[in-house]
């Protein structure tokens, strides 16, 4: 396997009601990631993006976004209708071929133009579930209830996750919500769909993010402290929620194992939990002990940009190594209702 590192990361801050077009949102983010990378734009060997046309409400919306990359002369590029974390995975795979040494990965989503509680119903089984319009918050609530029913988690535990995420967020200028809140105040919020209260559900945001990947020694030439991708893997569970054990995340466990997450202690884990109970399920599946700092950025609970949050988590895990001198971190992304599909990326800094 070829060694591939993240050498730069740029993002917009998460906030709702963005009026710019998606390409306008992306332009400074892509430019920033490329500038910080030290790789000249024309040298980039492959470009991959992640977004969902259903957020834009227009087919082929992702094609317009290409303008932000300066795709002339024509570039080699690809796109996934997924969170940008999967675009990063494809770029990592592409770099394994050995003929190109750098890749640009970007992701964007303006989800607040539509109602995600309707739009995301389209990811459900078209015959059995979509016609009922069982929205993703309702399905998440079913998972939260199942978790509570095991007796290992209480509503107070959920409130603690919600509060901790918002308390961490002030340290992150890109977070959408933050504050000195207590678990008690989170527990007093009204239910959105029981047992999930407002604080348990991530506020939705519009955002864009980008990273640059570089393979081999070139990463050390352009970046003082690259974050090496030691392992990356993703797994998917059956589609219909009633087929799954919603109280554990077997796909996360498998992805973590194949990414080698357990090979050495992880200092920081940035996980995509759009609902507080998801963080608890992910902690268990990733075997994160008390010594691991989880979501110092505030995580998705401090601002969740659909289709971008996963790439942002990996980017924040990169920042922990590049900006804060950490040695080994983990980024996680998810897709589908109730943590159906999960990606784990393990990063390491030199020395």
């Amino acid at each position: 396997m070829r060694d591939v590192a993240i050498v730069s990361f740029a993002r917009t801050r998460a906030h709702a009601g963005v009026r710019e077009t998606e390409a306008q949102l992306l332009f400074p983010v892509v430019a920033g990631a490329i500038e910080q990378s030290g790789i000249p734009r024309k040298e980039i060997g492959f470009t991959c993006s992640g977004s969902a046309d259903y957020l834009a409400g227009a087919s082929f919306a992702f094609v317009g976004n290409l303008e932000a990359t300066g795709a002339w002369p024509p570039i080699s590029e690809s796109h996934v209708e997924m969170d940008g974390a999967w675009a990063l995975y494809e770029a990592w795979v592409r770099l394994q071929h050995g003929d190109v040494d750098s890749a640009l990965v970007y992701s964007s989503g303006i989800c607040t133009r539509g109602d995600m509680r309707e739009v995301l119903c389209l990811q459900n089984d078209p015959y059995y579930l979509m016609p009922l319009w069982a929205d993703h918050v309702s399905l998440a609530a079913l998972q939260a209830r199942a978790l509570l029913d095991t007796g290992t988690v209480t509503e107070a535990d959920l409130a603690e996750v919600a509060a901790r995420s918002r308390r961490a967020a002030p340290g992150n200028p890109d977070a959408q919500v933050s504050g000195d809140v207590t678990a008690a105040s989170m527990a007093a919020e009204p239910y959105v769909v029981s047992p999930l209260r407002t604080g348990d559900c991530a506020p939705l945001a519009d955002a864009a993010a980008a990273v640059v990947l570089v393979a081999g020694d070139r990463a050390r030439e352009v970046c003082e402290r690259p974050a090496w991708i030691r392992g990356i893997d993703h797994r998917i569970e059956p589609h219909y929620p009633g087929l799954r054990d919603l109280t554990t995340s077997e796909s996360t466990r498998l992805a973590a194992r194949h990414a080698g997450a357990g090979d050495a202690p992880v200092e920081v884990a940035e996980v995509t939990a759009a609902f507080s109970h998801e963080e608890l399920i992910l902690r268990e599946a990733l075997e994160l002990g008390d010594t691991v700092e989880v979501n110092p950025s505030g995580g998705a609970l401090a601002g969740h940009a659909v289709m971008v949050s996963g790439l942002v988590r990996i980017g924040e895990a990169f920042r922990q190594i590049h900006d804060h001198g950490r040695r080994r971190t983990l980024g996680h992304a998810t897709s589908g209702p109730c943590l159906q599909q999960n990606l784990v990326c393990v990063l390491e800094g030199d020395g």
Partner: protein, 152 residues
């Protein structure tokens, strides 16, 4: 996670319409036909696992499944979530519970709505039964919703 920003003056909306006519095949088709006839079918894998609603393949082995068996029209709630304010497209227009129901004879759960009146009346483990729609056409909403199975 209510997401739509309020439409302020100067903003308009447009509606993206997606009209589909989906072919359903022999397995999904049999299930939907069964619903029309007030019957629930599941698919039985080689290992004997009964999946409701039925899948055309065994999720563990990938083998094709064409063994369809009848299951009960009542069963046990395996999870639930209370909706105080139904969204416009939800199955019921009054407060209800989303439920996962393991019908008698099935090994997996079906997701649907439960008309129970109040959240206090809902709990994991309770027994519920199908309330059939008056007019059925071979659609998941031939099950209008579930209701508590009250002892006679």
């Amino acid at each position: 996670m209510c997401s739509t920003a309020a439409v302020t003056s100067g903003e308009s909306t447009y509606t993206l319409e997606l009209p589909y006519r989906r072919s359903v095949g022999p397995v999904v088709g049999a299930f939907l036909t069964g619903l029309r006839d007030q019957q629930v079918l599941g698919s039985r894998t080689a290992a004997g696992r009964v999946i409701v609603p039925p899948l055309e393949y065994d999720p563990d082995t990938g083998d094709a499944v064409d063994d369809l068996v009848g299951v009960g029209t009542s069963g046990v709630v395996t999870s639930w979530a209370w909706i105080d304010e139904p969204l416009r497209k939800h199955p019921l227009d009054r407060p209800f519970a989303w439920v996962m129901v393991q019908l008698d004879g099935a090994d997996t759960s079906l997701v649907h709505a439960l008309d129970a009146g109040t959240a206090d009346a809902v709990g994991t483990g309770m027994r519920v039964r199908i309330r059939w729609a008056d007019e059925r056409r071979g659609h998941i909403s031939d099950i209008a919703c579930f209701e508590p199975e009250v002892d006679q």
